[in-house]
């Protein structure tokens, strides 16, 4: 395996209460890694550690190391803004910025220093094409992003993340607020992106997990119970708790 993300005895606590305990695992480069587990098991906290969005939570502390490309991103020297450029995030509910469709996509490149209008036009177009939204919004790039349908908004959020040219995409139950058709579209987009990006996808829908996963992680009560190639974890889990969860007992 060629890991891009590596957790080593990684723990998270909020106000002294442990939320994630001693996680050690590696996530391979590219492909889709699905994180499953019951509600409240720490899936979101796990995901938000990777772009340090957890830093916004008051009283949150990290222990251990979390490396991306062999660099510990928990290092106080780490530039968080640069980290978040490299690690994009798509939230559970679409969260467009209070701007036009164009500005939503150009926001990331803009804050990271791109000022050339011609280049920006290209980035916006390429990003929107990549998520299959370009033909739908081509003529109304200056419309408010909120006028898009919820499914389109979520694809806009995906395009917005891609515009930053990240290496990793974090998806936190990204399809759960969408209708089945839109959800399917997003899944297909992610599938097509998985050749070039390392995608981490949190879900509690087992069927979706099986559909998407190349690699899988099962979490329970703040611990990583089991991780490995998806077909192995789903068809032949090693831990009884994984088996129980997959059978719907846990």
């Amino acid at each position: 395996m060629n890991p891009i993300i590596e957790f080593n005895r990684f723990s998270v606590a909020i106000g002294g209460t442990p939320v994630l305990r001693e996680i050690s695992l590696q996530i391979p480069k590219n492909g889709i890694t699905v994180i499953i587990g019951p509600s409240g098991c720490g899936k979101s906290t796990f995901l938000r550690s990777i772009n340090r969005l957890n830093d916004l939570v008051e009283g949150l502390t990290y222990q251990g190391t979390l490396c991306i490309d062999n660099r510990n991103i928990l290092d106080p020297q780490q530039d968080v803004t640069e980290l978040r450029r490299r690690v994009g995030m798509i939230a559970q509910t679409p969260n467009p910025l209070p701007m036009s469709i164009y500005d939503n996509v150009s926001y990331g490149p803009f804050i990271h220093g791109l000022r050339d209008r011609g280049k920006m036009d290209q980035v916006v177009r390429r990003s929107l094409e990549r998520v299959g939204l370009w033909t739908e919004v081509e003529g109304r790039l200056n419309d408010p992003a909120r006028n898009l349908s919820v499914g389109q908004q979520q694809r806009l959020c995906l395009a917005r993340a891609i515009a930053n040219e990240p290496e990793i995409l974090l998806c936190d139950e990204t399809t759960s607020a969408l209708d089945p058709v839109s959800a399917r579209t997003i899944e297909e987009e992610l599938r097509s992106l998985s050749g070039d990006y390392t995608i981490l996808f949190v879900t509690h829908i087992l069927r979706q997990a099986k559909r998407l996963a190349d690699f899988a992680i099962f979490m329970y009560l703040g611990e990583v119970v089991e991780w490995g190639p998806a077909d192995q974890l789903f068809s032949n889990p090693a831990d009884p708790r994984t088996r129980q969860y997959l059978e719907g007992v846990l």
């Binding site: 978040r84 939230a91 969260n95 910025l97 209070p98 990331g108 804050i111 909120r146 930053n164």
Partner: protein, 282 residues
């Protein structure tokens, strides 16, 4: 009819009564001012300053007070906005929910409760101490001091309404605190911020007590910020109780114009906030 239905009816009637009383008073005030004031409005009233002394001179109009008030409230709202926006920014982005923020908010709320005459008196004492006379500049400063806490708290409240999801989206793309504040939070809050500024302008332009000692009063239109300046509220205060009908009519006209200015700023704020909310996320 059972008790619950009676209760429903009773409280509805109470609500309707309250609404009628409140709107009725408002309509009455506006009606009286318009009836009294509209009759006094002549071209000279609007275009000339008072002549021969504002208390006893029969000639001229209230151009000195109209322009004076606009200068004064304009300057004050400029200063107040420049002061209040950073306060609201700080409260929201850097200190939100901290004890420091709680203390600042408490302090601002207390400052909002201080009567404007106290601001006027304090600034007057300061002016005396440094040997300054009443002028447009000191009037601006006093009104600015008096509306800044109101404005800062209003802006703070508006920014607190910005959904955290939107901030998170910005941080998630690698924005700094200030970029998030400037491009996202302020953008989303803009309609509310503009409303807050225009309402504070209305408060500032209508206040008599804060400018009583600090801006002075004069027949002339100021040509320098160190000149004393006439204002509409004081035009009413000084002129409504004279025995001369001509002078009294200047007071009525002042009330009319003041009301028109305040109502216009309300209307403008409504229109602007609707326009500016085009891109806002609900």
């Amino acid at each position: 009819m059972n008790g619950r239905h009676l209760e429903e009816l009773l409280f509805r009637a109470l609500m309707v009564c309250s609404i009628l009383l409140v709107t009725g008073t408002c309509v009455l005030v506006i009606g009286v001012v318009f009836l009294k004031g509209a009759g006094s409005l002549t071209p000279d009233m609007l275009l000339k300053g008072s002549e021969g002394g504002y208390y006893l001179g029969r000639g001229g109009g209230i151009a000195n007070a109209i322009l004076g008030s606009l200068y004064l409230a304009g300057g004050a709202i400029l200063i107040a906005t420049l002061l209040a926006l950073p306060v609201a920014w700080f409260l929201n982005q850097y200190a939100d929910k901290s004890r420091l923020a709680g203390m600042i908010r408490f302090f601002l709320d207390a400052a909002c409760g201080i009567p404007s005459i106290v601001y006027g008196a304090v600034v007057f004492l300061l002016m005396v101490a440094v040997g300054q006379r009443a002028s447009l500049l000191w009037g601006c400063i006093t009104v600015a001091l008096f509306i800044t806490p109101l404005l800062a708290r209003a802006m703070d409240e508006v920014m607190q309404m910005v959904p955290s999801l939107i901030r998170e989206a910005s941080y998630g793309l690698g924005a700094t605190d200030f970029e998030t504040l400037l491009y996202v939070v302020t953008r989303q809050a803009l309609p509310g911020l503009v409303t807050a500024v225009l309402l504070a302008f209305g408060r500032g332009i209508g206040d008599a007590a804060s400018v009583l000692f600090t801006a002075g009063y004069t027949d002339r239109i100021p040509v320098s910020i160190m000149d004393p300046v006439a204002t509409l509220p004081l035009a009413i205060f000084y002129q409504v109780n004279t025995p001369l009908a001509e002078v009294q009519s200047r007071a009525y006209a002042s009330g009319f114009i003041l009301l028109v200015i305040v109502l216009s700023s309300c209307t403008v704020s409504r229109i602007l906030s609707r326009r500016l909310s085009k891109y806002c996320i609900h």
